[in-house]
């Protein structure tokens, strides 16, 4: 015979453990670890300082945007424009600095462009009522085109008087030899995690994704919040664009092409549900890590790079299937 209180405690502990075991983020994290261990044994080149430095830095650009994308997906939306917005913001930065302005002015112009694009998305989606898919698909085309117009479709690799500052911003390692982009990613992830977990804004994102009608009825300012979330998504794309410009030291109008797929994949693999209502900041990072490890390992294992798309696509499918199976078992 167990007393009711023991039962209650049992149940609570079970639910805590099953909570972790049911968590998609946890299993993806395990997959990343297993893949890393396997690659360390199977190849000589994986666990080298240089390769790890490369991987962590590569993760960051997808991860930073995946943070914003996760927020959008939590509300039940989608942002297909991020790759093009990244390109536009890089170009605005490049062209402004190339024209002789300081890095501060360049970054300000770049960020303002990102916020303007995001605000446009939000207004069209929340107030005009167009589907997010359509609005951001249009921007995918428009933003890259604007980047081409701004730069005359040339390569920008001279950034005026603050050239070196920009390169240090993206390519340096200011703290304990950790690449700067990684630092930015960690800081942004902490901010995003804080917003999602501890603020009313974060709570409302989940509420809108869970039941938009209920959120409206209970007095949640649904429309302004939607505008804000698309601005945040574009902002993360803009930040990634600025950092990537500094890292690469040159920009073409091709950068960020097809990036939206990797970003959405990272968010979804990290546990963001495309129907809305679920997703975490840490999940976005882990999802981005898995994608990068897959990409990296294919190269190291000598598998033709053309297979990359197939593997990443399969990872997305698996993540969504996993989610579906879990929901089915819950509804039983």
């Amino acid at each position: 015979m167990t007393s009711p209180i023991d039962k209650a405690i049992d149940q609570k502990q079970q639910s805590w453990i099953t909570g972790v075991l049911n968590g998609q983020t946890f299993w993806v994290f395990v997959a990343v670890l297993v893949a890393c261990l396997f690659l360390s044994y199977a190849t000589d080149s994986f666990a080298t300082a240089k390769n790890l430095y490369n991987i962590t830095r590569n993760i960051t650009f997808v991860a930073i945007i995946a943070l914003g994308m996760t927020m959008v997906i939590i509300t039940g939306g989608i942002d297909l424009s991020v790759g093009s917005v990244l390109c536009l913001c890089s170009m605005v930065l490049g062209v402004t600095m190339h024209a002789g302005y300081s890095i501060e002015v360049g970054i300000l112009a770049s960020i303002l462009s990102a916020l303007a694009v995001g605000a446009f998305h939000g207004l069209m989606i929340a107030y005009v009522g167009l589907p997010p898919f359509v609005v951001t698909l249009a921007s995918l085309s428009i933003a890259r085109s604007l980047a081409m117009v701004a730069s005359g479709n040339t390569v920008v690799f001279q950034f005026g008087p603050d050239h070196d500052k920009l390169l240090a911003l993206g390519g340096g390692a200011w703290l304990f030899g950790i690449a700067n982009p990684v630092l930015y990613m960690i800081v942004l992830a902490l901010i995003a995690g804080f917003i999602l977990r501890w603020t009313r804004f974060g709570r409302y994102l989940y509420a809108i994704g869970g039941n938009e009608h209920a959120a409206t009825l209970t007095g949640v300012p649904v429309k302004p919040i939607k505008v804000a979330v698309y601005m945040i998504s574009s902002l993360t794309a803009g930040i990634a664009g600025i950092v990537q410009t500094g890292w690469l030291g040159a920009i073409t109008t091709n950068i960020g092409t097809g990036l939206e797929l990797q970003v959405i994949a990272a968010a979804v693999i990290g546990g963001a549900a495309l129907v809305g209502g679920a997703g975490t900041a840490i999940g976005a990072l882990i999802g981005a890590a898995l994608i990068e490890v897959i990409r990296n390992s294919l190269g190291l294992l000598g598998i033709n790079a053309f297979w990359q798309g197939a593997f990443i696509g399969s990872a997305i499918l698996l993540a969504v299937l996993f989610d579906r199976l879990r929901n089915l078992s819950q509804n039983k």
Binding site: W198, T199, R203, Y206, A207, G209, N211, A214, L217, G277
Partner: protein, 246 residues
């Protein structure tokens, strides 16, 4: 002194007269069943009390003072809370998060205001206990029974100290055992001196829990009787029109 008094309230939508010259009084701690066929004007009437619509004619008084409600928020400030027919719950959030949705408790940390999880869990737990519901604040609404969901929706009305709670078809979509649970919740509200207007299609529920029944037919009030002085047969007749007026 009546908590709520409607005097000759009418509401038309274009040429359609949804509610026609309806008057009634609601006393403190009284449960009134509002019955009528689809399109009889029940929802329109309740939405006027909840601040969603304004009456075309007539006046509304609360505690003998005339009021004009411009919005649901206005109504809430006057002490009118509504439990929506579809409950307006987010399945992906916890019971406590749903209770406090739109009215989250926060505490200050430096310049930031962060969600006060502990306080919300505690207060939600207290409200569930008051309502004698087995709902646990940390459970996700997705995993709850219909009765528990109803308890969460009703708990929202306990955040403030409302005078009137409007309930739109609270027992329409749940199992029989859970219906009993919801009717108990309504009695708890009444015991605390709160007046309840219960819209329902289910005759047994109204006769079980209400003190009085008001019947609407085609926008007109055709009956306003104490439960003790009427019968399900008579009310059915009034709803369908087999009995003209009582």
């Amino acid at each position: 002194m009546a908590v709520l008094e409607l005097q000759n309230i009418s509401r038309n939508f274009g040429a359609i007269l949804a509610v026609n010259d309806v008057s009634f009084k609601l006393e403190a701690g009284e449960v009134v069943g509002l019955m009528g066929d689809n399109g009889a004007g029940k929802s329109t009437l309740v939405k006027m009390i909840a601040g969603n619509f304004r009456p075309s004619h007539g006046t509304m008084l609360m505690e003998d003072r005339e009021i004009v409600l411009h919005s649901p928020l206005d109504a809430r400030q006057h002490g009118v809370e509504i439990v929506h027919q579809d409950l307006a719950l987010c399945n992906n959030l916890t019971a406590a998060a749903n209770v406090f949705l739109g009215r989250e408790l926060r505490r200050s940390i430096g310049p930031f205001k962060i969600l006060d999880y502990a306080a919300m869990y505690k207060r939600a737990g207290q409200i569930f206990a008051e309502l004698k519901s087995e709902t646990r604040p940390r459970d996700l609404v997705r995993q709850m029974s219909g009765g528990q969901r109803q308890a969460v929706a009703i708990s929202r009305t306990r955040l403030t100290n409302p005078k009137i709670v409007l309930m739109d078809e609270p027992t329409a979509a749940i199992s029989l055992r859970q219906v009993a649970e919801v009717l108990n919740l309504i009695r708890r509200l009444r015991d605390q001196g709160i007046s309840v207007i219960l819209i329902s299609h289910r005759m047994p529920d109204v006769f079980d829990v209400a003190d009085r029944v008001i019947v609407l037919r085609r926008g007109n009030k055709v009956a306003d009787k104490s439960i003790a002085q009427t019968s399900p047969e008579e009310v059915t007749g009034l709803i369908t029109g087999a009995i003209g007026k009582a």
